[in-house]
Amino acid sequence: MNMIEAIRDAMDIMLAQDNNVVVFGEDVGYFGGVFRCTAGLQAKHGKHRVFDTPINESGIVGVAIGMGAYGLRPCVEIQFADYVYPAYDQIASEAARLRHRSNGQFYAPLVIRMPTGGGIFGGQTHSQSPEALFTHVSGLKTVVPSNPYDAKGLLISSIEDDDPVIFLEPKRLYNGPFDGHHERPSIPWSKHPLGEVPEHHYHVPLGEAAVRRQGSAVTILAYGTMVYVAEAAVAETGIDAEIIDLRTLLPLDMATIETSVKKTGRCMVIHEATLTSGFGAELCALVQESCFYHLEAPIERVTGWDTPYPHALEWEYFPGPARVGSALKRMMEA
């Protein structure tokens, strides 16, 4: 399966298993979503369970909160992460705090799915990675899968979770494990082991990272598309890095990170989002708090630049294998 099929499969299974699950968003119903993640679900589960909404993101999340208070389990789509801002008040002030402010009388068991990241010539309004805006809000969980197997297992866990989950889908990974070499032909998921997705219901638990590559020289903390960029940079530099795919940014699997950094003595943090106040800043702070006396070099960050995502110059913006590779070499010389 590719990642689109895996995500659809997770929703399909949950719609069949739990009649409180509902799926809705812009173009999600009859048409099946602009990325086809919900294709066929309305025909199969009915228009009362899977339906289109007006182009009104604060309304999508606002009605989902009300449905959650009633007892439903909405899994909604924001068409692009770049469109989530109108819904931010409903997410940050309402969904995130409802359980706490009502002392558990009400809560918001929502999943808010949204395609994230660049690399498809989407310009500044179809390329952003706003994960740090969600990890900063207490009460939210934030998930970023990097492959079809995880996407399905994490989405099932997210739908079953009783807290609001922001589910960011790296759109450049929908069809294959993209490593930043945009000039090369793309590789489909059918050629990747993590494209093998069981048909049955299974979990990938929230809050557990995966070590994608064992190594001894440096720890690379990555998520989403950047996992494959890291793999490419490691292959090209020959540096024996350990690559950790965080999978869930919050709650964060700090134990796996700490074990790895204490072993390697070096840490690099990479993400596609802009640098300043990005999630990488939090990772740097946490790593120095817990691993300072094991560090042999300053922690490096390789990220998108602090500019809007430029349409024609997106490969100059994107933190590809060349930038990650030269940072790796620089770290090893320190």
Partner: protein
């Protein structure tokens, strides 16, 4: 008439009266009680567009119930309604005093607006869900929710079911059909629509009631709510409490000079009514109409309740800075408690003596309930809610980073 190409000036609406002026509402168009027709609950919205500009009234100036909206409410229920309104007012007075005595940080009264919440609660059923603002404490009192629990919340004491997490009066009582008040204006309006959509998805018969003040209709969430209500036709009552003032901002800054809040529904093709919010019988009848319409599957109704915020916005506000002193007593729709009392006396089922006796009973009841709450502590005396609990309920299960922070606080 101005000539084309002469300088264009920005129009900034102003209220008719400011401090020092003598308020005069004689230009306000108030139809006679009983003069607005009562359509059937399956009426199409376009057939009742005129009802968004009138004011549905049942009680006339002499206190008699007149016209097609008079439901001939039985006297026992009516007296119960009067007592709930009186209790709401007494509770408000008591809690303002407690705030002045430093027992809590903040309080918000609903003086003059008691009928809106009390009568609507009595028109709905157990299992329906209100998504209130901070001025609908009457919903809880009419639901006979224990007053002591309200007071404990205001005092943020160990008896507070919200563990001192929320600002005073931002209650949440799920079992009494009262959704958690956010404090962010307007956000709950679209959530009410979502709750009603869920009821329809599940084939349930319960309805939701969204509440918003006229000032907050300017928020995006109001328009999102009307949009989703119009698209999915869920069983929801969309209440707009037009009490004329949003802190210091008069209603014209939310509606402009020419529209009514009820007419906002027209662009969305929603049924809309405008009613006298100080008339208990009108509120009850109009709420019942909207509830029946929703329960029969005919969809949402927006209702503008025309009322007046007699008290300050909150204990942190001083209205003498922005509106004339005598405005409340000049308000032409009168006082809801006084009007309903006169009606019941006119019916022969109530008297000044019974009223005075009821007032005394209610004052005792409220005083005792608030005292019981106070005995558990107030914001500045007695024990506080557990500090350990502060970290609970951020998530269903506490993640490691919060556990660590709780350890850092030493609890």
């Amino acid at each position: 008439m101005a000539k084309p190409n002469s300088p264009i000036r920005l129009h900034v609406p102003e209220p008719a009266f400011r401090p020092g002026d003598t308020p005069d509402f004689s230009s306000l168009d108030i139809p006679a009680a009983g003069s607005v027709r009562r359509p059937t609950v399956d009426v199409s919205p376009e057939e009742i567009r005129d009802l968004a500009y009138g004011i549905i009234r049942v009680l006339d100036d002499a206190g008699a119930a007149v016209g097609p909206w008079d439901e001939a409410l039985d006297s026992a229920t009516a007296i119960r309604g009067l007592r709930y309104m009186m209790k709401t007012r007494v509770y408000d007075q008591r809690m303002v005093m407690a705030q002045r005595q430093g027992k809590t940080s903040f309080y918000m009264q609903c003086t003059g607006e008691e009928a809106v919440a009390v009568a609507q609660q009595m028109a709905l059923q157990l299992g329906d869900m209100h998504f209130p603002t901070y001025r609908q404490q009457g919903l809880l009192i009419a639901a006979e929710h224990p007053l002591e629990e309200l007071a404990c919340q205001v005092f943020s004491n160990p008896g507070d079911v919200l563990q001192g997490r929320q600002l005073p009066v931002m209650y949440s009582f799920r079992d009494s059909g009262f959704f958690s008040i956010s404090g962010n204006l307007g956000t709950q309006y679209v959530q009410a629509v979502g709750w009603a959509m869920a009821s329809a998805i599940k084939g349930d018969s319960k309805i939701a009631a969204g509440w918003i003040g006229e000032g907050a209709t300017a928020e995006n969430d109001f328009h999102s709510a009307l949009l989703y209500a119009s698209v999915y036709n869920p069983p929801v009552i969309l209440n707009v409490v037009n009490n004329q003032w949003a802190i210091s901002t008069f209603q014209g800054l939310a509606a402009g000079d020419s529209a009514t809040f009820a007419s906002r529904a027209h662009g969305y093709g929603l049924a809309s009514l405008r009613a006298d919010g100080n008339d208990f019988l009108a509120v009850h009848a109009v709420s019942r109409w909207a509830a029946e319409r929703a329960r029969c599957g005919f969809g949402p109704t927006l209702i503008e309740w025309v009322t007046y915020r007699v008290a300050a916005h909150s204990t942190s506000d001083d209205p003498s800075q922005y509106r004339p002193q005598g405005e409340a007593s000049a308000w032409p729709l009168g006082d809801p408690v006084e009007r309903f009392k006169q009606h019941l006396i006119g019916r022969g089922v109530w008297s000044e003596e019974l009223h005075a006796k009821a007032q005394e009973q209610i004052e005792t009841e409220v005083r005792q309930a608030v005292r019981r709450a106070e005995s558990l502590g107030t914001l500045n005396s007695g024990s506080k809610p557990s500090i350990k609990e502060m970290f609970e309920d951020v998530y269903k299960e506490m993640p490691p980073h919060l556990r660590k922070q709780r350890q850092q606080l030493g609890v």
